[in-house]
């Protein structure tokens, strides 16, 4: 049983070994002549405007989560639409129940003001 995992072990060894070797080789073989210009961060040739680690508005996350929710719903709807002929009334009703639950949630977030930016 365990022998079946030998390829994975080999894969791990090779990948770690290769990565390590390349890093060490780069360190040892490449010429290293750092200067102030080379070490300074830049964006597209300009001086950096500000720190890249800036704060995001937390509301983006709310929008993102809501987006994922309704995006996933589509992922359910497509296969359902394709096999609708085969699954009959029951399949149709099952999806209606699912959408009903979802719609109540949607109305809830709408009326609670989760979709308004300000």
């Amino acid at each position: 049983m365990l022998a079946n995992y030998l390829p994975i072990l080999l894969f791990l060894i090779v990948s770690i070994g290769l990565g390590f070797t390349l890093l060490v080789a780069g360190k040892l073989l490449s010429p290293s002549k750092p200067s102030a210009q080379k070490n300074s961060p830049y964006e597209c040739g300009f001086e950096a405007f500000e720190d890249a680690r800036m704060k995001f508005d937390v509301r983006y996350y709310l929008v993102a989560i809501l987006f994922i929710l309704f995006d996933l719903e589509i992922a359910f709807l497509f296969p359902w639409a394709i096999v609708l002929d085969d699954i009959g009334v029951f399949g149709f009703l099952a999806m209606v129940v699912f959408l009903l639950v979802l719609v109540v949630g949607f109305i809830y977030e709408w009326m609670r003001g989760a979709l308004e930016w300000e």
């Binding site: 049983m1 365990l2 995992y5 085969d86 699954i87 009959g88 029951f90 399949g91 099952a94 009903l100 639950v101 109540v104 949630g105 109305i107 809830y108 009326m111 609670r112």
Partner: protein, 525 residues
Amino acid sequence: MNPLMTQNIRSLPYFIPEAILLGTLLLVLVCDLLQVKGKKTLATLPVTVTGLVACFAVSLNFGMNGDTASGLFHGMITLDPFALFFKYVFLGSTLFVVLMSRMGSDIDRKAHAEYHTILIAITLGLMLMAASTNLLMVYLSLEFVSILSYVAAGMQPRERRSREAALKYVLYGGAASAFMLYGMSLIYGMTGTTDIYLIRDTFIANSSYNFTLLFSVALILAGFGYKIAAAPFHMWAPDVYEGSPTAVTAFFSVAPKAAGFAVLIRVFGTWFSGVGDMGGFGESFTHLVGVMAIATMVVGNFGAMLQSNIKRFLAYSSIAHAGYLLMGIAMLPNFAEPGFRAILLYVIFYVFMNFGAFFVGALVMESTDSEDISAFRGLGKRNLMAAIVMAIFMFSLAGLPPLAGFIGKFYLFAAVIQQLTFFTLLMITVAIITSVVAAFYYFRIVRAMFLDPSTDTEPQPTSRLAQVMLTILVIPTVVFGVYWTPVIKVVDKGLVTHAPHVYETQTANTDTDQKESPVADLKTP
């Protein structure tokens, strides 16, 4: 009609309890919306309570009629006495917590509808957890409960500690789920199925000691262990318990824990009990879970000794109790039945005594506005009834006769001692020593209530509803310590899980095409 579809339709009647909860959940949301629009003021509490009671009644009806079925929705869930037993526990707990948070003030009144929605949804998840017979469903329902628990922990968004609790819970939960999924994927890789009964068949077919199996079981244990807050996966518990609203903490310490044990028994009980030693695997399993149990007992009991915050103290105490219960799981490969019976028995007793301890704790915290254990000082003078009741819960949690906690512990220890090996003796020794430690710290509360000097002697009466709820909790704690035969009967009924491969209803149903074996079922395109 398509046979796959027929099975789904036939499964629906057995899904009514869950459907009722789902309906209640939506109804509460709609009630809340009407409140927001200001058209009408609808209280969500009656709706929530009615929904929970209706669900309980329907579940009870299934239980009374012996109307059970397995292999529902293509082997995803089952409705056996075991699942029903836990459904009662979950619904009772939720009902209690809903009423308990009605009295507390830590959750914003405006947020109560949302809070009820989350509680109902968690209960729905817990019920699915106890009923799952497929690894996919186990994972989904566990995650269902977890995600909503994160929200419940953060129900006081203005409190820094509450936010911290929610975030810590998310991070730990995510990591634990990842480990568990990895373990499940290894099991799937070995057996080629996610149906726990089919997996068992594969184990029986090639019963040889297998390192990969032990490894994946250990990984899955990480996920389940996190849910029951067993060491070394307990670190989230004290912080989350401290930061969450008190009623939510009480809920966390009972319901998801019970569900965690339900899943442990369902999954590992199906896989490894009565399978035999499987070439040394059984012993390894006992050692794996046993070491976890020992660590949990030590960490929980010694941790509780050092706490000065009431909620953290109760958190560690609940970790310790998970340790005792884990001993029952550890005995599973050879002596499954007594261990399981002891666990189910303990769960019932634990619900009453732990809710009781939390309830009095919440009353004290509310009236003194302090979470320090010193808030208990002089409670004997301020409110004699609450103090006496709290003393009973503390003695019961410590496992003193003649209270329910003693009987629970007695059955657990008896289940472990059935097999006399060096390891079981070690477990029992640790359990007894840590029980003594436990007695010490539970008595500390009792001493604070009655013996410690206190300047504050102003009487603080409890409300009528609180008195009723305390009575409901304290009577079983006392009575079951003396007369526990009815509980044993309920437990023995609840121990019945359905034999694998009966993909049909258990009631008088002679329809032959219902007897689809799961293999055929899974192979149908």
